[in-house]
């Protein structure tokens, strides 16, 4: 039996179709996917016989206006291609996620956020129009001016309202091809949150990494990074070259990543930043997409795969809520080598879009016998503080928990009832969370 997997490597039976012509490709399809970088089951079929359209060969740029930065392209265009073509010409996408192995269609469907969320919001905030194939196979153009409900629902809508065929958005002009970066080692979670909120008004881009295995006083010790595009005068004359890439050659065994090795990794990472503060020029690839140098790094988690738990703890819940989340995480015994922290600005226009004002926390958790218990436990805490989880990463949230953390869900379901009353468009995730037919 053929299977498809997301980045977490947990399979679902199914098969994908390819076509360079995105209109032919999506006709009759019930789910679109791109590079399969969503971690969970959002790009996997609800049933093995579902027609799954893989858009990644539909990659044509249809227009680019160098005066306004408005670019229109087919949904399968990858961020790899886009950055490679546009960076040397002085343009960069307004928002990029932590990997460049994503398609434009996926960036809209997940309404991705990046290091500049507190300034620029999500990718969807920069989208001007979408061309969409609806469940009844009609093709429509939607925008903030036309069929705005379809537009807002499709941004962050996990492809459940229609297949995204074309995306029109505004690129940003950049003053140079380099990032000026400052980095600070922070001793504990309280200091970390204080530093990141202090950096927000000064820096267009911020993010941090913390050691979530440490308990007690050092809990949440980590490294905070802030950056901005270097001005033309301060940037080096040479262009940032392509970084050498290496491929994770084998799937590591399940036991390779445990509390002890994750602890060693974290300590090594923390102490590799010997100086408490550092600053300098950095290539945008290394700054925005640090893990992309190791191709197929998901193999490090072994044959059983992993999930990423990403949630946002709302600002309204107070600074102590983040510390409590960390305590909950350690209490549940989840060993994560990387815990990424980002402060989020206000909620965007996407009806189911993930970010909200607060602190986003992302931890990788290897799949084991008690993964469901860990996710349930974290979800109970997130519900209690009024936060929510990121569907793009999710594989284990229960439907009742999702309903409890998502007051916007009735609005999204009403949009589905309007645009796809038979719920023809579906995924393994919508089967799990919304009870769609298999």
């Amino acid at each position: 039996m053929d299977t498809l997997t997301g980045w977490g490597r947990l399979p679902e039976p199914g098969r994908e179709l390819f076509d360079e012509d995105i209109e032919t490709l999506t006709r009759g399809a019930v789910l679109s996917r791109g590079l399969g970088r969503s971690y969970g089951d959002s790009s996997l079929p609800a049933s093995p016989d579902d027609k799954v359209a893989n858009s990644r060969f539909a990659n044509r740029i249809l227009s680019f206006d160098p005066h306004t930065g408005v670019l229109r392209a087919e949904a399968g265009l990858t961020l790899v291609d886009l950055v490679r073509l546009m960076l040397p010409r002085g343009w960069f996408p307004p928002v990029v996620p932590g990997t460049r192995f994503v398609t434009l269609g996926g960036m809209v469907a997940s309404d991705v956020h990046g290091k500049n969320h507190h300034r620029e919001g999500c990718f969807g905030a920069h989208v001007r129009a979408l061309r969409i194939r609806l469940a009844d196979d009609r093709v429509v153009e939607c925008s903030p001016e036309a069929d705005v409900d379809l537009f807002d629902g499709s941004i962050g809508g996990m492809g459940l309202l229609g297949h995204i065929l074309e995306v029109e958005f505004t690129m940003h002009r950049i003053p140079s091809q380099w990032i000026w970066m400052e980095r600070e080692r922070v001793p504990d979670i309280g200091a970390f949150l204080e530093s990141i909120s202090r950096a927000a008004p000064e820096w267009p881009m911020t993010m941090g990494w913390i050691d979530c295995l440490k308990r007690g006083e050092e809990m949440g010790r980590g490294v905070l990074m802030a950056g901005r595009w270097a001005s033309a005068d301060e940037a080096p004359a040479r262009n940032p070259g392509a970084r050498p890439e290496i491929t994770m050659p084998v799937v590591l065994p399940d036991w390779a990543l445990n509390r002890a090795t994750a602890g060693l990794f974290n300590a090594a990472y923390y102490w590799s930043h010997l100086r408490r503060r550092a600053a300098g020029m950095m290539a945008p690839g290394a700054f925005f997409f640090p893990l992309d140098v190791i191709l197929e790094w998901n193999r490090a988690y072994g044959p059983r795969g992993f999930t990423q738990y990403q949630c946002v703890v709302p600002r309204a819940a107070g600074p102590d809520a983040v510390r409590k989340f960390m305590e909950q995480l350690t209490a549940l015994g989840a060993a994560s080598p990387l815990c990424v922290i980002k402060d989020c600005g206000p909620e965007g226009r996407g009806v189911l879009s993930f970010p909200m004002e607060g602190t986003s926390i992302a931890v990788d958790i290897p799949v084991s016998g008690h993964i469901q218990r860990v996710v349930d436990g974290l979800n109970q805490f997130i519900i209690s503080v009024g936060g929510r989880v990121y569907l793009t990463k999710d594989r284990f949230t229960r439907p009742e928990d999702f309903r409890a953390m998502e007051p916007r869900l009735p609005r999204f379901l009403a949009l589905r009832a309007k645009w796809d009353p038979a719920r023809r468009l579906r995924s393994a995730q919508s089967r799990r969370l919304f009870g769609d037919a298999a």
């Binding site: 360079e20 012509d21 060969f57 740029i61």
Partner: protein, 246 residues
């Protein structure tokens, strides 16, 4: 290079056109779908606005009467092309071809007779201006008579033999003939088929093709591992080939 890509709107052809344009070559597209030609030409222009734009013309592999006019248009736009890449071809599964004799006739005609006719037009033009590159995509399916590709493979076997002979005959005159033998490549053409191990993707195959053109190679297997796979397949005795379904 000043290159013509026949079949340059989709699959391997689109990737070859993008690859050539990325390194600064002028690219002229030939294909049979006007809307798709317009989109692909716009794509190349948006990707590389600093470059001279080639343009496009309609050309259908099933209609050889249009070949000369299409090449005239390319010559006029590029002020004399020096490279032609043919990726256009028909594909159907063995089951579909066995069920429809007319389809089998059309496919073998397009992939062999018409492709040879197109190459002959190109050959005459390139030789008249001192040579150039003639690249055509054949297939590993033509390396051996095999059950699952009996008819499609035969059309490609003929094409491979023609391209090899063309290389022997005209290399000394400056005509660099390249026969490309892709293994399984994920494109619309193979969509729905179960992808075997070592399946290629258009971008990687295109990079291999352009590198082989630069080195003036007569033959390239892509992905490269197929060279060894086919070496084994070619050396299998008949009684084994009758037994296996490969």
């Amino acid at each position: 290079m000043k290159a013509v890509v026949f079949g340059g709107t989709a699959g391997i052809g689109r990737a070859v056109a993008q690859e050539l344009a990325a390194r600064g070559d002028a690219v002229f597209l030939l294909g049979r779908d006007e809307a798709s030609l317009r989109r692909s030409a716009a794509d190349l222009a948006a990707r590389h606005p600093e470059q001279a734009q080639g343009g496009w013309a309609l050309c259908d592999l099933e209609d050889p009467t249009g070949f000369a006019a299409a090449l005239d248009a390319a010559d006029a736009a590029l002020d004399g092309f020096d490279a032609v890449v043919i990726t256009a071809a028909m594909f159907a599964s063995q089951a579909e071809l066995e069920a429809d004799v007319e389809l089998a006739r059309r496919l073998t005609t397009a992939n062999f007779a018409n492709t040879v006719a197109f190459c002959e037009h190109v050959r005459v033009r390139l030789l008249s201006r001192g040579g150039g590159w003639l690249t055509a995509v054949s297939s590993v399916a033509g390396d051996r008579g095999r059950k699952p590709v009996a008819i499609y493979g035969a059309s490609k076997a003929g094409l491979s033999a023609y391209l090899e002979a063309l290389d022997h005959r005209f290399r000394a005159s400056g005509l660099w003939v390249l026969c490309v033998k892709p293994g399984f490549v994920k494109t619309a053409m193979t969509s729905g088929l179960k992808a075997p191990p070592f399946a290629g993707e258009p971008a990687g195959v295109a990079a291999d093709i352009v590198a082989a053109m630069d080195r003036k190679r007569p033959l390239v297997y892509t992905p490269g591992v197929w060279r060894f796979v086919m070496l084994v397949i070619r050396s299998l005795p008949r009684f084994v080939m009758r037994k296996i379904d490969f």
